[in-house]
């Protein structure tokens, strides 16, 4: 099948990678949250001296917000390195789309940093990017769907 072939031969950079947002490990939590809001992103990669050392996503932010709303006293001026996840699962830029989808689906990740041969992040694969990539492969049936899923004429026309 054609589609199957594409998934196993096309590399992950075809799947609409987002620009990687980066911040240094010393950036404050407040600044990181503001960057995410301004850039309309749900995750940011954390680097220290050009090396990728962590990731901070909206799920981490949500936990902090929930704790803060309960009166848990979150110090927004602390550096992001105290809140980030240090184990970052990433894929190489030569990985196929199919393999990346598998990694994402099995691990339950919503964003996967894509790194080049120098271990530098070149993009971020997101669930929405993959959906868009999939839609690209069968635009005919997706883009020409009737406007309503359950369509029935109210009465016979012209009768």
């Amino acid at each position: 099948m054609d589609f199957q072939l594409n998934l196993n031969s096309e590399t992950v950079d075809h799947a609409y990678l987002g620009q990687p947002l980066m911040a240094s490990a010393e950036t404050s939590l407040r600044e990181v949250l503001q960057i995410l809001r301004e850039q309309h992103q749900g995750g940011i990669l954390i680097q220290k001296e050009d090396a990728l050392v962590g990731i901070f996503t909206e799920r981490d932010a949500l936990r902090l917000m929930a704790a803060d709303a309960k009166g848990g006293q979150v110090d927004y001026d602390q550096p992001i390195k105290n809140f980030m996840q240090t184990e970052v699962v990433s894929v190489a830029d030569k990985t196929t789309v199919g393999e990346s989808i598998r990694v994402m689906s099995e691990g339950g990740y919503r964003r996967l940093p894509v790194i080049n041969s120098e271990k530098l992040p070149t993009g971020v694969l997101t669930v929405s990017g993959i959906l868009h990539y999939l839609v690209d492969h069968f635009p005919q049936v997706i883009y020409t769907l009737p406007p309503k899923p359950r369509h029935a004429a109210g009465e016979r026309e012209g009768a």
Binding site: L36, A69, I101, G108, Q140, V141, L145
Partner: protein, 175 residues
Amino acid sequence: MTLCPACGSTNIEGVDYCDACGQTLSHLDLPVPATEVEKSVTRDRLSTLQPRAAVTCGLNATVAEVLAMLVAHSLGCVLVVDHDGQLVGVFSERDALHKINCSAAEMADRPVSELMTAAPQSLHCEDKIAYAIHKMNLGGYRHVPLIDEQGRPTGVVSARDILRYFTGLLASNAS
């Protein structure tokens, strides 16, 4: 040109009825799924994804309560319902990040109705999977609420459900 399957006369492309015999031609313009994957998304219904049950809250639930629900249930979104149980809004993780940001403590007692996304797009669990993909792709959402005929939420389809569906589909096609 469109050939009428009943009488064989030619018609202008896109007409609803055959000029010669009056036979309806509108079905000829429906797209024909070309591959197995295309057939599957236009045939399978959202119920086959076994979407997770809806987690709902009332309009007066506070921000603190809703945030706690999102964390406790590991959810991406909570559906907001009115006193009749009808879906009126969605409060997602993304809403939290963009609207609450670093003022969670100050906003803790505000009602969720001030911050939710009102009048969300929704589908029915018997709708085809292609519709959910279309809505997510166009709107950039990760969740589409499912409602019944009375407008009450029955579940939520997530982008992750769709990915899982595709990986299953591709695995079964490969074997």
